[in-house]
Point group: D2
Chain length 184, copies 4
């Protein structure tokens, strides 16, 4: 019996999972009685999904994406620029995910960078978080270099997507068009 081919690149390139907060990672605080941020779920999900070696979890921030300013986006850009991995997934709030994607996209880094998030927190019944993270990892390890927003089982190029807040969905737009979609 031949030895297994342990070349990580055979099946999947090294991957960095960057936590930036957002609905995906929100937790319920029983004393305060509301959703807030604590420890990111990413480490627990890496075990649950039985991910192979070659995956690094990198918690950059735990904030609501409506509270994210340009400094936060520059921090995420620096984290991507400094990452040795060719595949990067960023878990991010959905409200300004498109804005961060544009900052990262304009930098034209050589990696495949995929932003994802969730409409329902990981801890809540019926959450889309686990699916979305799996999907984003599949995209990050398969798509050519570039920046993508991956939600609802679709990967959108960074300059061709907007969030329709009224519907709670992402939709494709023509490059250069207004990315502010309808609001609720």
């Amino acid at each position: 019996m031949p030895a297994p081919d342990t070349s990580a690149h055979a099946a999947a390139p090294p991957l960095r999972l960057i936590a930036a907060g957002g609905t995906f990672d929100k937790r319920y605080d029983p004393v305060a009685g509301q959703l807030t941020f604590g420890h990111s779920h990413l480490e627990a999900i890496v075990r649950r999904a039985r991910l192979d070696g070659g995956v690094t979890v990198d918690v950059q921030m735990q904030i609501d994406s409506l509270d994210m300013d340009d400094d936060h986006r520059q921090q995420l850009l620096a984290a991507c620029r400094g990452a040795p991995e060719p595949a990067i997934v960023i878990v991010h709030g959905t409200d300004t995910m498109v804005d961060t994607a544009r900052v990262l996209g304009a930098a034209a880094l050589p990696a495949t960078i995929v932003l994802t998030g969730a409409m329902v927190p990981y801890d809540i019944e019926g959450s889309d978080a686990l699916f979305n993270l799996g999907h984003a990892i599949g995209c990050a390890r398969s798509l050519p270099p570039g920046v993508y927003v991956a939600m609802q089982g679709c990967a959108f190029a960074w300059d061709r997507v907007r969030k329709n807040r009224a519907l709670g969905r992402f939709e494709a737009i023509a490059p250069g068009s207004d990315r502010a979609g309808p609001t609720a």
Copy 2:
């Protein structure tokens, strides 16, 4: 405000989800007191993951993959051959997933076909099913045509993978080598 670009291909090609059973889809029967097969979870997951249009669920069978014979594999091959979608995910038992991948791989169909499954049923605490399906969909819509086994966040080419049953993990092998890995 320009109209959204509703071309499905802009973000994600049409996708077929084929259910073949396996641990992923097993359900607990409270009267019999054991895990068995019933209704596939795929339709419910399509809603939970908020998948866009362009996704077709196709339940071919609900069986344990140890009970799968060549007729079942020919049925799955026929389902793939007849599918109009360029991206296909097959939810399959893990024990013989590699065998089915070899039947499909040898047929050299023009679609991207990704087999996935789960080590823990979808309904059970800590299941990897939702992650794996998301991952497989990301791969099926991103990788070039071919047949892949997608587990543990990795996509293995159909002729370069085996299941290590003793560890409950998939691992890469050199093409042409023995695909029977260690058993428990």
Copy 3:
């Protein structure tokens, strides 16, 4: 084989489950991005717990108990007074559960009335809601007539309990003492 004794009173008296809202019943709204009220979970729990006949679900309100005023408490008192069942469970927010218990307790109705709630909403990972409802039903069908607050596996008489908000716990007090416990 003799016929089963189908007298409901043999094993459990008729039971009324009154929904008043509170953390127990809060749901996540993916578009608004916050916890809010919608359909009560009580009907779904009756099926999940396989409760026998003889259980009536009565949704009186779906509000945060901090928004509850004396009119709401009079409405709950009227619902209890009008209920034919000898056993009543009220699912209520924890913050003012003790206040409502005092209104109901002072009325000295002939039923066994048990207030319960949850520190974590039913839909959220690790919730105490299902346990608490089961516990409250066990108390309501077993304790002598009176009004009780049932939380943390304990049943407190209505005039001997306060919520310690700093700890997020209920604790026994001597009758007549100040029911305002420490706050967070």
Copy 4:
């Protein structure tokens, strides 16, 4: 502000939770691909339900109740006889719960002993385990001394209950009648 009345008996007598196995405590083994026994869930549930002090978890066995023989029942009887607590809950398989109840009931111990279990394992979506344990604890701390089977929100006296296996439900019978109900 007066000191809280910390007398445990004020709200709830000391409680022993005895684990005997059964469907309630079964866990999925991903390598074997089936439900089996491992660590009991009772300690985790004590934390989840925020039970106060005064609760002791006592794991006597982790077996399927169809594999339980008279030695096992004598072991459970000895555990109850030796327990200092006036309230005891036994988590037991449902198939022979009634048989164990009869062994315990005939001993006429001075404690309130409540047997419960689950139709669906604690770890599986839609499980009744958490509800049933809460209910059993409410009964054990409220009912007069005796032996009871608590399922489906009902507490049955030990000599007035049988399991209807065809329906997967417990039902009341007249004392002295045949306890073997219909089978599936």
